[in-house]
Structure formats: C-alpha cells, structure tokens
C-alpha cells in the first residue's frame, strides 16, 4: 500500500492514480483509453487521491475502481448512483465518480440514474455505452440497435434503443456530455468541465467493445468518417462541421428541429449557424435528437446549466434548522412536548 501523504509530496502523476491491480479488460477495449483520460484529468485538476471515490455497479466497466489508487466501491448491479448518494450525504466534500454502463445505468439501474440526475448529487457519471452486455457475453442492451444479432436476439433486436442524452436531459440533469473513447483530448476537456461542475454531470462515452460489438463508432468516429458525421460542440462557437467546415446548423422554425445547410449554399440565409449555448435546454434536446445517418453525432458538452446540488441543499436545511432551534441534543428532544412527573 502506498503510504505517502500529499502534504509534502510533489504533484501527483498518472502513475500515482493507478493501483497495483492487474487490468483485466480485453486487449483493445475502449475502457483503457477512458481510464487513461480519467487519470490524466485527475492529475491536471489537482485531485487528491484520498478525497476521490470511484463507485461502480456491475459490468466490464465497473471494474474501473480496482485500477485506481483512490477510494473505491464496487457495488451491485445498477446501484452505484444510490451508493454515491449516501456517500455524499455523509461527506459532501468528496470527489465522487460513478462508473456505469448502458446495461448497468440504463436498464437494471435506470431508476437510480434517473433520480441521481434529478436529485443533482455532486458527482461525475461516466456512462460507458458499448451497446452490448459484455461481461455476460454479448446480449443486447437498452442502447443496442434495432436488428442487432446477439445470443439473446438471434433474429435481431426488436425494441428501439434508448438514447442516453435525451434520457438524462429529460430526467432533469444539469450537465450532459458525449464523447468517444478514442478521442482523448475532447474527453479530457469534457471530464475537466464535468469535474468543475457542481452537481450531477453525466458523460456518455461511446466505448468500443472489440469482442461483442466491434466498430460501433466507426460510422462517425474514425479518421475518415468523423468530419462528415460528427460535430464537436464548443460553447460560444457556431454549429459548424465538415472537413472544409462547410456545413452548419440552423433551426428550422417549421419542424422545430435543427437543419443542416451548406454554408454559402442556397439554404444559407446569411445569419450564420446557431451558436452553441450549453445553457439552452431546448437546443440540448435538439442536439441529442440528432441521429445517424441523417445527422452527424454531436459530441462535447451538450448541456450545462448548474443548480444547487442535493447534498448541499440537505446541509443547508440542517444548518437552517440548527440556527432556528433551541434543541441541542437528544435529551432536549425527549424532554420536549407533553411530559409529566411521577
């Protein structure tokens, strides 16, 4: 066990955040690039190991805490957000990271995901979306595509996929982002923004499963596809994409949806593309609704509109109650109200 304390130590490095446990993800798994990005982020934001807690559920990605030399809790299937809630109510000063996946966080733990976002507990939620159940060997997940062939859907998936970003915004999340495992720099930028955000910050990470759902992101995240099929969102910048930065988005007033147009083309009204405002919830919904192949996939911080977090509000009520009460102890409570002497 590493025993150095941070009071006199030099700044931490990526290695300081790696535990001594052998990493057991499959070779080529997208999880490797995520853990690297997270470790790098922790170094860059100056996080303290002792104040950092990774809480996970069940699934491949939920092994994550074991590989971090921080505090970690490997919970039960889908329940990481609930465990994190109790953790934060006991100690709001902790940096809490929730590690979950499309099955853990959107199927068995869908209710907890909904409520941790709505409650707005101060935590970063990494939703590893690989569109498949990896640990149980390849069954379809709530984000699998219609028609996907898996051991539990030999004739193809018949239910429509759940779109995590729309789910999160609908649940009342105040910070929602989307990144792709192989796009390191954007991931680190987004992780930092999520870390700084006070409240629940959910990041959907498109994560490639080389064994059961290989190439899930190829249509929009490879070197050859990403320019035409992905739009990287930057706050304050216009929604422009394309290798030649020749396509933009405007709002179509008729359908109340985003519409792509060729810059300088006949649909260009000269007003320029819509500027990305992460605080605009309607725009966030429209961006989340953009689906391949009709639209490029939006990545980056889609929505960011902070509000008071649950555990801080709970503490505030306690402080208010203390300030306005004469009771200081259980003895005061027991002796209050109707009592009589015998």
């Amino acid at each position: 066990m590493d025993t150095k304390t941070d009071t006199v130590s030099p700044p931490l490095t990526i290695k300081d955040f790696a535990s001594d446990q052998e990493v057991r993800w499959c070779p080529g798994c997208g999880d490797y690039s995520v853990i690297k990005a997270v470790q790098k982020t922790l170094v860059e934001v100056g996080a303290k190991r002792e104040n950092t807690v990774f809480v996970s559920g069940i699934g491949c990605s939920s092994r994550f805490p074991y590989y971090m030399d921080t505090y970690g809790f490997h919970g039960i299937h889908g329940r990481a957000p609930a465990i994190a809630s109790g953790l934060l109510l006991a100690n709001p000063d902790l940096d809490v990271w929730i590690i979950t996946g499309d099955g853990d966080g959107l199927s068995i733990g869908g209710n907890h995901m909904l409520h941790v976002l709505r409650h707005n507990y101060n935590c970063v939620i990494l939703l590893f979306n690989n569109g498949v159940y990896g640990l149980t060997k390849g069954q379809y997940s709530p984000t699998s595509e219609r028609g996907q062939i898996t051991p539990s859907s030999p004739m193809g998936v018949i239910d429509p996929p759940l779109e995590p970003i729309q789910f999160a915004i609908g649940a009342g999340a105040h910070f929602v982002a989307r990144v792709v495992d192989i796009q390191q720099q954007q991931m680190i930028d987004v992780l930092k923004a999520a870390y700084e955000h006070k409240g629940a910050a959910m990041i959907e990470i498109f994560q490639n499963c080389t064994v059961f759902n290989d190439g899930m992101c190829d249509s929009f995240a490879t070197k050859s596809t990403k320019f035409e099929h992905q739009i990287e969102l930057v706050a304050g910048q216009p929604l422009i994409y394309g290798k030649a930065r020749d396509k933009g988005f405007k709002c179509d007033p008729g359908s109340l949806s985003l519409k792509s147009y060729d810059i300088g083309g006949e649909d260009d009204d000269g007003h320029g593309a819509i500027v990305h405002d992460p605080a605009n919830r309607s725009l966030a919904f429209m961006l989340a609704q953009m689906q391949m192949p009709e639209y490029p996939v939006a990545t980056g911080v889609i929505y960011n509109a902070p509000e008071a977090s649950y555990e801080r509000e709970a503490m505030r009520q306690v402080e208010e109650a203390k300030a306005s009460s004469d009771r200081k102890s259980v003895t005061d409570v027991l002796n209050q109200g109707f009592t009589w002497e015998v």
């Binding site: 490997h74 809630s85 109790g86 953790l87 934060l88 709970a314 002796n335 002497e341």
Partner: protein, 621 residues
C-alpha cells in the same frame, strides 16, 4: 371488580384496577385526537396505560361507511398495564358504522355510548343496518346510553359565533367530556391543549371547551338520576421520574438519533415510504436541528444502498422498511455483509405474503431476517418487545453494527410502531458510549485486517490519506483485501463471516426468565410485540397457581449464549407467535429444546384470554 360493574353499583364491591375504553367514529370525527387526549390525562393522573390507534387504510373513505371507521383503544389502570385489553368496558360510537365494526370488541355487559343523532335512516343504511340497533333489541346484553350528542353539542356551543358545521365538529369533545366524567378524570390538560392548539382561533377553542364541559355535566346529571355511576380507576405504582408517551416508531427514530450521539457519528437515514415503517422517517425528518439527515430515496433498493454509501463514508447509515421493502433491499443487505459495513435495518413488520395486509400487524419476517439472503450471509437480528423498548433495541443494534462492522436487522411491527405507552425518559448521560475508532494508520493497512477479539475489520474512511482502498461485493482476500477467486480463501472468508456474527453472543447479556421458575411445567417463549399479552397471561395463570414461566427474546440471531440451557428445564415449551411457527424453526436450528408453536395470523395481536386458554390446555386444563 370489573369496570362495567362499577358503573352499575357505585361504591359496592370495590374498585376496578383497570378499564378499557374504545373510541370509534368516522375518520373525520377526530377519534385519534380524543384517544391522545384521554391517554395524556390518564397518564398524568398516574395511571399506567397502553394505547393503540386503529385507523382505516383508505386515505379518505366515504363518510359513514364501515371501512371509514377510525378507532382508538386504551387500557389504563392501577397495575402494570401490558396490553390494550382483549375487550372494552366502554365503547363510544360516534356513528352507526363505528358501532357495527367495534361492537365485537365490547365485553358482555359493557357500556355503549352512541350518538343517537347519527342513527338516521341514511346513517343506518351506510353502515348496513336494516333496523336501528338502538331500538331493535339487538344490543340486549350491553348497557346502552343513546344520546343525541350532535344536538347536545349544538346546544352547548350555541353562544359562539361559528358556523353550524364548526359547532357540530365539537361533538367529539362533548363525548370526551362524558368519558372524563365516567372515570373521574380532570379536564384541565385537554382545555389547556385546546387553548394552545387554537390560540389563533380562540372562538373554536372556547366552543370545544364548552362542549367538553357540557359532556361532563351531562354525566353528573345522569349520575344524580342513578342511571349510571362514575368510577375511579386508581393510579399505578410507577418508578418516579419524568415521563412522556412514546410510540414504537418514535422510540426507534429517537433511538437512532441517540445512537448517533452516543457513537459520535452523524446519522444519515435513508428510507422509502411504506406502511407501517414510514412514521420512523417522519420522526427523523423533524430532527434536522440535531444534524440528522434524512433521504427519501427513489426506492427501497436505493435507500439501502445509500445507507451502505453512508457507512463507507464513516457515518451512521440506517434504513427502515416493512417486509416487502426489506425483500427489495435484500441484495444490498448482502452487499453490506460482504463489504462488512455497519448499517442498521429496521423492519416494522406487517402481515404478508406480498402486499398482504399493510395496516395489520404480524411477526412473520423472522425467516427473512435470519435466513433471507443469497449465499452464506449471516447478520445479527434483534427484536423490540414494546413501544419504548424500540429505543433501547435500536441503540443496541447500532452498538453491535459499529463494534462488529456488520449490518444488523432490528425487528419491530406495525402494532409496536403505532402503539403508545408511558416512558420514563432515559438519562442520556447514563447510556453507554458506543463509539468506535476509524483506522488512520497507513502502517501495514489492509481493509480486511481484523480485530482479534471481535473479528471486525478496520474501518478506514474516504478522506483519510494513505488508506485508499477498494471494497465491494466480490469476495476478498483474507489478508490483502484484494479481489480473490481462490477456493480456500472463500471457504475461510465464509467461515470468518459466520464466526464473527456467532461470536457476538459472548457480548450479549445472558437471557433471564421474565416470570416463573426454570423447572416450570410449561415455559412460554416469545419475541417481539407478543411480550404484553404473554406476560399478562402468564402472570394471570401463575396467580391461579399454574406452573408456567415466561421467557422473552431480544436476540434472535445469534441467541443469548445461555438460551438453550435456560429453557431446558421446562417440562414443555410453547411459542406463541404472530406467524406460522418461525421461531420454533429457528430454535430447532440452534439445537434448543423442542417447542410447540402457537400461531395467530389474523392481523391482530394475541388476546390475553387466547393465551391463557392455550397455556391451560398444555397444563391439562
């Protein structure tokens, strides 16, 4: 002498040592309020009391319907009152439906006070009466006092500037005034309460007080005309000190708050609403000024998981539910066992299976508590025997959880949760220090390093430098605490989890016989809320010379270390339970002497009479 006789022949033949009154009316009649007021007045007069509110599960049942009847029963007296009484001496029924649904609880010859004004054609029809029981002779065998309470109340409140509806609403206090007269009780507590309650609406307070006084005066007049005598119930001998009334839910909530204070660990109580455990959440939510944090989680599973997160962070994590909710928490309870984290789980039991009878009491979750998890997953199980005992047992549950780093199940039930009894307010300074230390020393640290005596693992909390570690539901290496799939290690860890929990027995007080001798012909063993009726039945039978003893268990897993030994001298053993015989199985499992079960699962507590008969039958009549 029974109270009913006292009403008929004033001062002849002695004084009754206790009486049972049952208030019944429509949900909107303020019955629970009357019960509370009468209870307080009796308690202040020095009576021992036991009370139980019996209200409908419907939130707003139609007025006048039988399923909208709300009732409140109190036994009060000059001896140690242990139950609410098998049957009532007095039933005050504020409408026909209340009479219909509560008559069976009245003793033969008992006194019915009925609000005649509500026995209209319509009122009777709503209650399902073809003819009026007040006049059709069906109440022969009881003593009937039919009064138009509504009319009397309107007359008494005539001088006040209130609507007719507001005046009519005072009728419950008119009835209370009459009951106060019947038992020589003082009105001062109630008038003071009304003045406080309606400080901003003094006209309402005055009208209610006028109704109370009129009801009382009505009694004086009928006594003068020898229709009915009032009757004094003597005060009980109770240990001196300051008392208050407490329900089981209140006591459990305050027990958690007290344990937080005694352990120096902030309480985070996470819970999901479920009958009858919800009131524990209500009581704790009102203790924010003491630093108590309550979290109404999104579901039962989340509530348990949040309690685990709280414990991981080093605070006192607790949750409460009832059987169906505990079932949902079960996987997470297993996680707390595997992670060896201290969490207190309160189960306020209700009748099952499944949704069962949510508002009715049962003690049928003992198997669930002791056995109900996947894997070999032991945890300590304790049970409270009375409303006030919920305070002590909750503190004991926290003590064990912290000292042994284990989840603990505390069993109570719907009856205990709602029932109330006078409570000698404990002196917090005399309660034990139950604090435990966090690990802070990184030297040779491993999260599963154990205390040699208790086998508790180290508790190192996030925020402590140098002690970063990962735990969870996967099996751990005995030495390093890392994930381990080693076969021998799993055997060893399974064994140590069982040894740890079983070893708690050496830290528990020895079991003592509550009443009777070790070699009694019949030993009656109970647990939980059956304490009151068993205790009374055994003492009644012993007064009649029966060779019967009573032993009552607080510790259900592990048992007190002398339990099997202390019960081995009984000729035979009877175990009355509000389930189909669960403790009998658990006792057999622990190699205790064989026992015969005596089951009652009607959603109602045992009556003393039922138990007396069962005891008599085992003793050869």
């Amino acid at each position: 002498m029974p109270a009913t006789q006292c009403f008929a022949q004033h001062g002849q033949g002695g004084v009754p040592d206790s009486a049972v009154v049952r208030f019944a009316g429509d949900s909107g009649d303020g019955i629970q309020l009357l019960g509370d007021q009468f209870s307080l007045t009796s308690a202040i007069a020095g009576n021992a009391i036991s009370t139980f509110p019996d209200y409908p599960s419907e939130v707003r049942a139609p007025q006048g319907s039988t399923y909208g009847v709300s009732a409140f029963q109190i036994q009060f007296g000059g001896r140690n009152i242990k139950t609410i009484g098998d049957s009532a001496d007095v039933l005050i029924a504020f409408n026909p439906a209340a009479l219909k649904t509560n008559l069976e609880i009245l003793k033969p010859g008992g006194l019915i006070i009925a609000d005649q004004g509500t026995f209209s054609k319509r009122g009777l029809k709503k209650a399902g009466y073809e003819t009026s029981p007040l006049t059709d002779g069906s109440l022969e065998g009881y003593r009937l006092l039919a009064i138009d309470i509504t009319k009397q109340t309107l007359a008494a409140t005539a001088p006040f500037d209130l609507s007719k509806k507001d005046k009519q609403r005072c009728k419950n206090f008119w009835g209370l005034g009459l009951i106060f007269w019947l038992f020589h009780q003082k009105r001062a507590t109630t008038t003071a309460w009304l003045d406080r309650k309606f400080a901003k609406k003094p006209e309402i307070a005055r009208a209610n007080i006028a109704a109370l006084n009129a009801g009382h005066a009505y009694g004086e007049n009928i006594e003068a005309s020898h229709e009915l005598y009032s009757c004094h119930i003597p005060a009980a001998e109770m240990p001196p000190g300051k008392y208050r009334a407490v329900t089981g839910s209140q006591a459990a909530a305050w027990g958690l708050a007290a344990a937080s204070e005694l352990s120096g660990r902030p309480l985070v109580f996470s819970s999901y609403p479920i009958t009858p455990a919800t009131t524990i959440l209500h009581h704790l939510a009102r203790l924010k000024d003491l630093g108590v944090i309550t979290f109404q989680a999104e579901d039962e599973i989340a509530a348990m998981c949040a309690a685990i997160g709280t414990a991981f962070a080093g605070s006192l994590g607790a949750t409460a539910s009832s059987g169906p909710g505990i079932a949902l928490k079960t996987e997470a309870i297993g996680l707390a066992v595997a992670a060896e984290l201290p969490v207190v789980i309160i189960n306020s039991q209700r009748a099952g299976p499944s949704t069962g009878l949510p508002t009715k009491t049962e003690q049928s979750d003992l198997y669930q508590a002791v056995y109900g998890r996947n894997g070999d997953t032991p945890l300590p199980v304790l049970a409270a025997r009375s409303p006030a005992d919920c305070f002590d047992v909750t503190i004991e549950a926290v003590r064990i959880a912290l000292k042994y780093m284990t989840p603990v199940m505390m069993l109570m039930d719907g009856y205990l949760g709602n029932a109330s009894e006078p409570w000698l307010i404990p002196d917090m300074n005399k309660l034990p220090d139950i604090s435990v230390k966090n690990c802070t020393d990184p030297e040779g640290f491993s999260p599963f390093k154990r205390d040699a005596d208790t086998l508790a693992r180290l508790w190192a909390i996030p925020g402590t430098p140098g002690l970063e570690h990962r735990i969870g539901g996967l099996e751990r290496d005995y030495v390093t605490g890392d994930v381990s799939y080693d076969p021998g290690n799993h055997q060893k860890m399974s064994q140590i989890r069982i040894d740890k929990v079983k070893g708690i027995a050496s830290d528990l007080p020895e079991l003592e016989i509550d009443q009777g001798e070790r070699d009694a012909e019949l030993g009656v063993i109970g647990w939980g809320s059956t304490y009151g009726p068993i205790s009374r039945a055994v003492s009644n039978m012993r007064e009649k010379g029966a060779s019967v003893a009573h032993v009552h268990l607080r510790y259900l897993y592990p048992f007190a270390r002398n339990q099997c030994e202390i019960t081995s001298g009984f000729g035979r053993i009877l175990v009355p339970e509000m389930n189909m015989g669960q403790l009998v199985t658990v006792m057999r499992d622990n190699n205790c002497p064989p026992a015969e079960g005596f089951s009652k699962v009607t959603g109602r507590p045992f009556t003393v009479t039922e138990l007396e008969e069962a005891i008599a039958a085992r003793l050869g009549g």
